[in-house]
């Protein structure tokens, strides 16, 4: 990498260039952060539309709208778009905006690389989404791409693999940038154990990214060579084994799950103290808990595949390690509650989302604990109970944290205050509908409805109808979010520098909005 801090200094006096070129050529962390966030919002709606196709079809038993093949493309694409297009870019966008201004740095360590890692994304997704318009349709084997089914994919297959490679490159470059920034560009006096907790969680997430994304790249490359170049990694006739793909995939996949949630922990750990007007309880233990969750994530992968027929010892090992994750996760939840305990709380929109995060994420954690029990998992596995579980940790988990973060920092980013009443309305609609959508899925799952089916037996009809109503309500509520964003952007700059009474951290010492180059002179931290 030839780009380094000195090259950055050459750019110093330039403000943003004008027009579209500003966005294409920008190396500014705030511009790139903004682009990531908008991109993520667009993807959130595209993935959401796919979810609505799924829910519309499942509103009633019988096939009314789509054929089963297309339904499978929707479930596959919905997952890929939401994971790689909506949640991950949103966190990277938040990292871009927040990391430099939280650690007192002028910009990210690798500004040009930063530009590149963003601009890969739109191309990768254009390619991935374009497969839906191919004659053979898009990928339909589930986002987990299990062979031999995924190898039956048509023309879309190599395009999907290539798109996943591009997403991987983008994530890895982003992660390297984050690590380099955090390790090398902190303000004097900011030791590691004085870093804001969001910075800590992102540092750990970035390590998870560079450890796991290359493994995904390896796994999908093996799929590609199996299909086109005669290798036999996953075919029993050539000494391969389809189950091996699942092991390699989930060796990536489980750290990936924490990539989607650790930054959310950081956000909630930032917002809860701010609106409780009380320091975060157990900062040190929060850091250790995050690190232990990250380490554990590498030895629990096979709990995604308890039903493949592992040896008993393997099942017991993965059951125990999975249960262990409950301990650091529990510590985090207890610390949040202790932070709120005897605080002086107010309930602005970010705080509401953060509190809902704690409650609903914990419910997702509970069902996760149930899923860890192998004998019971033999019943839960691949049912809507699992769908309910991971949506509880990803929607009111990751997505709520992202929304909380946007409401929390939006006044800082834009210098404009959003409409608090509308924000609260958005919160309540979202929370009610999210539960209406995903809570009934626990019931149909337990009662025996498998996931990834376009049509179901009549006894599952009532809860599915409720879930579909909830999903449409949830989707429509997000239009209000977009309205709130545009409504805020239209306003005049009026927000104070320190927007929230209880907020702590370097970003609140900057003006709102912050100058184009944040912290030209590094602040000193005691």
């Amino acid at each position: 990498m030839s780009t380094d801090i000195e090259k950055l200094h050459d750019d110093h006096d330039h403000g943003p260039s004008s027009g579209i070129m500003r966005w294409i050529t920008t190396t500014n962390h705030k511009d790139i952060g903004t682009m990531y966030l908008w991109f993520s919002l667009i993807m959130f709606f595209i993935g959401g539309l796919m979810a609505l196709v799924i829910r519309a079809e499942l509103f009633q038993p019988g096939l009314q709208l789509v054929v089963p093949g297309f339904f499978n493309q929707m479930t596959t694409m919905h997952a890929l778009v939401m994971i790689f297009g909506a949640v991950m870019p949103a966190f990277v966008g938040l990292a871009n905006w927040q990391l430099p201004i939280m650690i007192g740095a002028p910009d990210m360590a690798l500004p040009r690389l930063n530009n590149w890692s963003f601009w890969i994304l739109p191309f990768a997704f254009t390619m991935m989404l374009s497969t839906l318009f191919m004659e053979s349709g898009g990928p339909a084997a589930g986002w987990t791409l299990y062979p031999p089914l995924s190898l039956q994919g048509g023309d879309s297959f190599p395009f999907t693999i290539l798109a996943i490679h591009m997403l991987g490159v983008s994530s890895i470059l982003g992660a390297i940038n984050v690590i380099a920034t955090i390790l090398n560009m902190r303000a004097p006096g900011m030791t590691l154990m004085k870093m804001p907790i969001f910075v800590w969680t992102w540092l750990i997430t970035a390590f998870l990214l560079i450890a796991s994304m290359p493994v995904l790249a390896g796994a999908v490359t093996m799929l590609l060579t199996d299909k086109f170049f005669g290798t036999m990694f996953f075919t029993a006739s050539g000494g391969g084994d389809p189950v091996m793909f699942q092991h390699i995939f989930w060796f990536f996949g489980h750290p990936e799950v924490y990539i989607l949630i650790l930054p959310a922990f950081g956000i909630v750990s930032t917002i809860i103290p701010a609106f409780s007007r009380k320091r975060l309880f157990g900062y040190d233990s929060m850091v250790y808990a995050t690190a232990s969750i990250a380490l554990l994530s590498f030895i629990v992968w096979a709990h995604h595949m308890f039903t493949v027929g592992m040896p008993l010892a393997g099942e017991i090992f993965f059951m125990f390690t999975t249960m262990l994750i409950a301990i650091p996760t529990g510590v985090k939840v207890f610390n949040w509650v202790a932070t709120m305990w005897r605080g002086s709380m107010t309930f602005e929109t970010p705080m509401l989302f953060a509190i809902a995060f704690i409650v609903l994420f914990t419910i997702g954690g509970f069902s996760g604990l149930m899923l860890a029990m192998v004998p019971a998992d033999f019943q839960y596995h691949d049912t809507y109970f699992v769908v309910a579980h991971f949506h509880y940790v990803l929607v009111p988990g990751a997505v709520f944290a992202i929304m909380a973060a946007v409401y929390y920092w939006l006044p800082k980013w834009t210098g404009k205050m959003y409409n608090e009443g509308l924000g609260k309305l958005h919160f309540w609609l979202t929370t009610i509908f999210v539960n209406l959508t995903f809570f009934p899925m626990h019931f149909v799952g337990l009662a025996g409805m498998p996931r990834r089916i376009p049509d179901y037996a009549v006894q599952f009809a009532d809860f599915n109808a409720i879930a579909s109503v909830g999903a449409f309500g949830f989707g429509l509520s997000q239009l209000l979010f977009v309205y709130i964003l545009f409504n805020t952007l239209k306003k005049d700059v009026t927000a104070e520098d320190k927007v929230w009474e209880g907020a702590e951290g370097l970003e609140w010492t900057l003006s709102s909005p912050p100058p184009y180059h944040s912290f030209e002179k590094a602040p000193t931290v005691d």
């Binding site: 089963p68 009380k278 320091r279 029990m373």
Partner: protein
């Protein structure tokens, strides 16, 4: 009414409106029963933990608010407290791990089965083979369901008996007999699952997996494929008729005669 149902209704009141299925079936085999008991045990534990944690949070939200003039306390760490809430969950987890491990060891013990049923997953149907008696047949979704499930079929599926849960050729298994079920596949990975008979396992091309059932109650039990296997994954049901042993052997006899008749 069971406490579990009441708890579920508290959490989700509409469940009280109708007798909708909201829980895992207890099933009719030793394996389904241990799975159910474990499921309920963990469910109650999480409910208790939930009440404690959310209760503390709710109390804090109600009373420690600025609008009530509550002043923030200054404490922000306590090693003692951190140790307590690391150790207590650990103890609870050990309490959960013991019955889970016991149950698992029991479930994985397929030894001394009397009958072996081999299941082969196909896109999109099942093939069954009774190894000892050399009886083989395919089983796929019933014609009635299959016609009704087409896009734009114009059939009101609620009028179809056992919509998507009926097959042309059901399996018959004897009650009170340990049956080993071998699972494999012809093309892609499938998973064979009848909830009331216990858990599922994957049917993987090139390899065999095994589970066992010991059905305690005669009856008809329905399930379906549980691993995405392509476009008609949702349309490969499983039907098991559990009958007494003499009836089972009568059925086997008929199957054998049919086969001989067919071969002639």
């Amino acid at each position: 009414m069971r406490i579990s149902n009441i708890l579920l209704m508290v959490i989700f009141p509409t469940a009280a409106l109708a007798e909708w299925e909201t829980n895992m079936p207890r099933g009719v085999t030793p394996t389904s029963e241990v799975a159910y008991d474990l499921h309920m045990l963990i469910f109650y534990i999480t409910v208790v933990i939930g009440i404690v944690v959310f209760g503390a949070m709710l109390y804090s939200i109600l009373y420690h608010r600025k609008s009530l003039g509550h002043k923030p306390a200054k404490f922000h760490e306590s090693t003692k407290v951190e140790i307590i809430w690391t150790v207590i969950p650990f103890i609870i987890l050990v309490g959960m791990a013991v019955p889970a491990t016991k149950a698992l060891i029991m479930m994985e013990d397929t030894r001394d089965s009397e009958i072996t049923l081999k299941v082969t997953g196909y896109q999109w149907m099942w093939q069954y083979e009774y190894l000892e008696d050399n009886v083989t047949f395919f089983s796929k979704i019933s014609d009635e369901s299959n016609a009704a499930r087409r896009l734009g079929s114009g059939v009101d599926v609620t009028t179809v008996d056992n919509y998507l849960r009926d097959v042309d050729h059901a399996i018959v298994l004897p009650t009170n007999t340990k049956v080993r079920i071998l699972l494999t596949a012809n093309d892609v990975i499938h998973a064979w699952w009848v909830p009331e008979l216990g858990g599922k396992k994957d049917a993987i091309p090139g390899y065999v997996n095994e589970i066992w059932v010991d059905i305690k109650e005669p009856g008809t039990y329905r399930g379906q494929c549980a691993e995405l296997c392509g476009k008609d994954h949702g349309f490969m049901p499983i039907v098991v008729h559990a009958v007494s042993k003499p009836e089972y052997y009568k059925w086997v006899g008929i199957q054998k005669t049919n086969r001989v008749a067919k071969n002639k």
